[in-house]
């Protein structure tokens, strides 16, 4: 059981980073469906950097930048040129997939250098790691996982406790009002779309560098789409995103691990669980209709100042 949940944390991370990234993007009023594409871009650049330089820190920067560049393209098209967000996002997904294949083609089958693999090896946090059960599962992980925890904390504070976070929410909830109150709307949109894309890139890099330390095509295999759904499940809340990602991460590997826990369910049924859970939670949250679970008011609406 502990082995399974420890592995579930590893399966959580790509989903968590991507979900956090998309929360930032959506909170500032943009719906970027290119998560899958940005994850692939981050994965291939992260891998390529660590493969060529052996430096894990540079690799994380490169992955963040790659995702950010993908998101910048999105921002340019949707914010500056007022393009349709759904179409642009879908295009970004397809672009990212092709791009990662192209860049990664000559690296297929290459491994992350030993030293970097060790850098991302499991590290026990003193004291916390000694807590029975919880500590064994959550605090004997790799540094990338701890970075994920830190991001959850940072974003929670940023969104709910700081002035720029409040401004960002205002931009997403009611762009015209935010503009009227003097918030530089387009700057906010750009920054959060780009930062969100960077986080998606990190999610991809986790898959490409830590989960499978050998480059193989299409490492993301649809997780970007699950992240888009997770944002809704999490009600745009980073802490709920951590819980949601963990549940989905666990469900995604449950089929493969059930043997170790003495359960025997057909893999086909297990594969349906995450989607059943999605439907269920969407129904419940729609039914409750709490204010904090609703999407930002101006989500995916292009903003023309002249049309106010």
């Amino acid at each position: 059981m502990i082995d399974f949940l420890t592995a579930a944390v590893v399966a959580t991370m790509p989903l968590l980073f991507a979900t956090l990234g998309e929360i930032l993007t959506e909170k500032s009023g943009s719906l970027n469906l290119g998560v899958e594409g940005m994850m692939l871009m981050g994965a291939v650049f992260g891998f390529s950097t660590v493969y060529n330089t052996g430096n894990p820190f540079l690799a994380l920067c490169a992955a963040f930048l790659a995702g950010a560049v993908g998101a910048f393209i999105f921002a340019l098209i949707t914010v500056t040129f007022q393009g349709n967000q759904v179409v642009t996002g879908l295009t970004l997904t397809i672009f990212g997939a092709g791009f990662s294949r192209f860049v990664g083609d000559h690296m297929i089958g290459s491994s992350v250098p030993r030293a970097a693999q060790d850098f991302f090896g499991k590290v026990k946090i003193p004291l916390l790691g000694d807590i029975p059960f919880v500590g064994q599962i959550f605090f004997r992980q790799d540094v990338f996982v701890y970075l994920g925890y830190i991001m959850v904390a940072v974003l929670s504070v940023y969104i709910y406790k700081t002035r720029p976070g409040l401004n960002m929410k205002a931009v997403g909830e009611n762009t015209a009002a935010a503009d009227a109150s003097g918030i530089p709307v387009n700057l906010y949109k750009y920054l959060h779309i780009v930062a969100g894309g960077g986080l998606c890139g990190l999610g991809g890099a986790y898959l490409g560098i830590v989960s499978v330390p050998m480059w193989q095509e299409d490492v993301v295999t649809g997780r970007g789409w699950i992240a888009v759904a997770l944002v809704i499940l999490a009600g745009w809340n980073p802490i709920k995103a951590l819980v949601g990602s963990f549940v989905f991460g666990a469900l995604s590997i449950l089929g493969l691990w059930q043997g170790s826990m003495g359960i025997h369910i057909s893999q086909d049924i297990v594969n349906m669980f995450p989607y059943l859970a999605t439907i269920l939670i969407v129904i419940i949250s729609t039914h409750k209709n709490r204010k904090e679970d609703r999407p930002p008011g101006n989500l995916s609406d292009p903003y023309f100042r002249e049309e106010r």
Partner: protein, 373 residues
Amino acid sequence: MKKRVLVLLLAFAMVFAFSACGEKKADTDDKDEVLKIGFIYIGSINDKGYTETQHNGTVALQEHFADEVECLWEENIEESTQAVQDSATRLIDNGCTVIVGTSYGFGTPLFEMANSGDYDDVTFLHFSGSDINDTNFGNYFGAMEEPRFLSGVIAGLQTTSNKLGYVAAFDNMEVNIGINAFTLGARSVNPDAQVIVTYTKSWYDPSGEKSAAEALLAQGCDVITQHADTSGPQLAAADAKKFAIGYNLDNSGLEGLEDAYLTAPVWHHDAYLISVVETIKDGTWKPESYYGTMADGYISLAPLTKNVTDEAKAKVEALEKEIKDGTLKIFVGPIKDNQGNVMVEEGETLDRAGIWEVNGVLVEGATATNSGK
């Protein structure tokens, strides 16, 4: 930055080089002597797995015939009727008179083309299917149960926990034949050996296959083998300091696997391709269902690495000889399935057709963690 400029320059150089090639090809077309063979691949040719194995055969074929044949190929073709037929049509338009479909799902679309009457002058060869007609469509496959059995023998001798992990793609006949042959091999030398199977329900899932292997390792397995396309299970075994047996091609040279890799049941597609192209060239080819064996050199066990014990090496060498001269058959009764039902009666030896009939279930000693079996 310098590198980027260099890459751009190289890219331009490549484009020019390709256009130069194009002109040359036009010249050789006139002579009409070169046999053009078109390969359709499901993946990319350097995937360190299924498609690379196929392509190694193509490269060897090209080298063998040098100027007499020209191999063309298309990569990453989906298993849909439209995609396959489009790809084949493009290859035929480029002058190919032989089309080789290297994935199971390519069979039906190509079979339709072969029987349509429009492509009577084209020879179709299909890997892993069973379709055949009287004029221009043949298929080929290999008796993978032979090297699988031998890899099982090694696993059975190397294990100390008597638990062997098997990361399998789909619960289908081909995969289960491999699992059963592996199990029979392991239990022939170690009656206590248990094979634990996890189906990933995908041919290609890098992180899923690795996670499946990690789960098997957590259950105490100390040898991991696979019938899936990525090297994820091998990496997981190496991480846990346990042993790995690969599939498709020899990955023993990959970084990080030095102390884990044992061997792999591998394909040598060139062995078949060279002989079949020989007959196509001299006009004696007839549609056939080729089933290559270890004796033919179509399949084999990759060279055993330093991690294999001397005892296992000697045993495998002796058994390999027996398989090649036909004295050792894999599916010989009595064999029971894991529910206790008789699969093969005592005194019965299965031939190809028999093997492909009874292996819907798993043999005694093999259990699946995530299916009804």
